[in-house]
């Protein structure tokens, strides 16, 4: 057999992907009134300044909470804060 016809086993350069269990989403809110909705702001003040203002103005019956950080890793709610938080909006991206 000529060298050009020799068959080689060639190995895989791709890393190992650990299996991931996938989950259903958390149930959605049945209504907005009286709920505590947290705004996790991590940039893009151009959008967030008016958005935060609009949310608070148009939905005064919602208890809006906010944490701001100019970073790709958002400031997280503490376990204690989670107990009283009904939903979270995070953005812009990250």
């Amino acid at each position: 057999m000529a060298d050009k016809d020799k068959v080689y086993e060639c190995l895989n350069p791709v890393g190992n992907q650990e299996p991931v269990d996938t989950y259903p989403l958390a149930p959605r809110l049945d209504k907005l009134e009286g709920k505590t909705i947290h705004m996790s702001i991590c940039g893009e003040a151009d959008i967030w300044v008016p958005l935060e203002k609009n949310f608070k103005m148009e939905y005064p019956d919602v208890n809006w909470t906010v944490k701001k950080r100019f970073h790709i890793v958002p400031l997280e709610l503490t376990q204690e804060e989670r107990k009283t938080t009904d939903a979270v909006i995070l953005g812009v991206c990250w």
Partner: protein, 486 residues
């Protein structure tokens, strides 16, 4: 994304607002973190922003929190992609075609994107070649790449945080959080064209995360310090970033292959970047020539807590080349030998024989259009001149440069990265320990990084010509022992 996944898991509904071109990455990450249907709303980078964009986003965001779940969103399951050890069987010409295949990615206007390579042809990783590569280490082929010692991984720039790692921690290659065995690293080393004697360096690169960063690593940049440069023939003399030296070239390339193959980088699909870097494109690695250091200056290995005879690897984030002043090498010589020429005029030492403080010229206005630290690569003569001038340690230079970067807060406010650096001016200024908002306009703060050692670095190479190189992205970070991978 891990934060949102954790919230969803604990029963709190979430929504993420992302820019439209980031949707591919968001979709990918939600699977990676166990919530393949996590809701998102697209903002538009091309919108005028402000009230218009806020008005447009409000309802979709609230809908995402209130609209009942679909059947798909209620499903659970498992995502378990598998990769075979033997990827291809065939002749070498067939294998070349297979390994060099490309795919079209809509996010980059269907430009071809290599499936297994950095875009250049590769050496085909036959079983025999990989076995030969594995003779370069005593570690077993099926051993997972783990940290060989405790360490503090450094954050890069304003947007990537640092973190602590423990010996034995499994290294995750980004952006897909994958792991790798010694053999998988060897496959990539073969593909890059490395020789078995380079393999301990390649494994140390892998231990460092392989230049994959937080997923936008670009293949990274690496410095080698210690005697191994001689053993494997790294060029530490002229043109260290030029063609011709197999070790510098092929080792530099490994980072890009790690990012693509171990980390799973796929532009706009698994991560989204901006321009990349002409500095690291193609791979950047070089070695220090510690023999050229002035007496009293430590090599990088010693600066990072290792012994002179130990070989280590450090990663860094190389930014733009050429920050600072330009000068012909002869102008430098004229400065130090006779006190003539442009730099002598600038320093007002005309006719006075050196040593003079060349750094004063080199760092003039250096932070005018950039922030943070940088790396200087000196030939032995410039290092010796700086020593003779009075910098008896490298640290003395780091401190001198850093102090020179101070400027009033009112000037600092006009810099482009300050939302990140100051956390939107809500954070603490590090040199004073005070809130940014408490500082007066004329309070002096550093534009050149948080601290001298973390922001600056000097490396000496073997070169007679009195030219130096400078690139943004400096300082010292965790070192990885190359010897641990022999």
């Amino acid at each position: 994304m891990p934060y949102l996944a954790d919230l969803e898991k604990s029963g709190i509904p979430t929504v993420i607002i992302n820019y439209a071109e980031e949707t591919g990455k968001v979709k990918h990450d939600r699977t990676l973190f166990g919530f393949p249907e996590l809701r998102y709303v697209e903002a538009d980078r091309k919108s005028p922003g402000g009230v218009t964009e806020a008005d447009r986003l409000m309802q979709p965001v609230l809908d995402a929190l209130t609209k009942p779940l679909t059947a798909a969103e209620k499903k659970s399951g498992k995502w378990a992609p598998e990769q075979p050890r033997i990827l291809f069987e065939g002749t070498l010409p067939e294998a070349e075609k297979f390994y060099n295949q490309t795919k079209k990615i809509p996010g980059i206007l269907n430009a071809p994107f290599s499936v297994y390579t950095d875009g250049l042809p590769v050496v085909i990783p036959t079983d025999e070649r990989v076995k030969e590569m594995l003779t370069g280490t005593s570690h077993k082929p099926d051993e997972l790449i783990t940290l060989q010692r405790d360490g503090q991984q450094r954050g890069f720039g304003a947007v990537e945080g640092g973190y602590t790692q423990k010996k034995g921690d499994v290294v995750k290659f980004m952006p897909m959080y994958r792991t790798a065995t010694v053999e998988q690293v060897a496959v990539n080393a073969v593909m890059a064209g490395c020789r078995p004697e380079y393999f301990p360096v390649v494994l140390a690169m892998a231990e460092s995360g392989g230049g994959t960063g937080d997923g936008r690593g670009g293949g990274g940049a690496f410095v080698v310090s210690g005697p191994i440069y001689k053993e494997i023939g790294m060029n530490v003399t002229n043109f260290i970033w030029g063609p011709g030296n197999p070790a510098n070239k092929t080792l530099g390339r490994v980072g890009s292959l790690f990012w693509r193959n171990l980390g799973g980088y796929e532009e706009t699909v698994t991560t989204i970047t901006t321009l990349g870097s002409p500095v690291t494109n193609g791979g950047l690695i070089f070695a220090e020539y510690a023999e050229g250091l002035p007496m009293g200056w430590k090599g990088l290995n010693e600066e990072l807590g290792f012994k002179k005879n130990e070989s280590v690897l450090m990663t860094f984030r190389a930014g733009a080349w050429g920050v600072g002043q330009q000068n012909a090498p002869g102008v430098y010589r004229s400065l130090q030998r006779t006190g003539h020429g442009a730099i002598a005029r600038y320093l007002d030492v005309k006719g006075i024989v050196g040593p003079h403080n060349y750094l004063e010229y080199l760092t003039k206005d250096i932070w005018a259009t950039m922030e943070g630290g940088f790396t200087l690569v000196f030939p032995p003569q410039i290092a010796q001149d700086m020593y003779d001038y009075g910098f008896k340690t490298k640290q003395a230079i780091y401190e001198w440069i850093w102090k020179r970067s101070f400027e009033p807060v009112k000037q600092f406010r006009m810099r482009g990265n300050q939302d990140f650096v100051t956390n939107g001016w809500l954070g603490i200024e590090k040199t004073s320990g005070k809130h940014w908002k408490e500082l007066s306009d004329d309070y002096m703060v550093p534009a050149g990084g948080d601290d001298p050692f973390g922001s600056y670095n000097i490396l000496v190479i073997n070169m007679q010509e009195t030219a130096c190189a400078r690139f943004g992205g400096g300082g010292h970070s965790q070192a990885f022992s190359i010897d641990a991978w022999r």
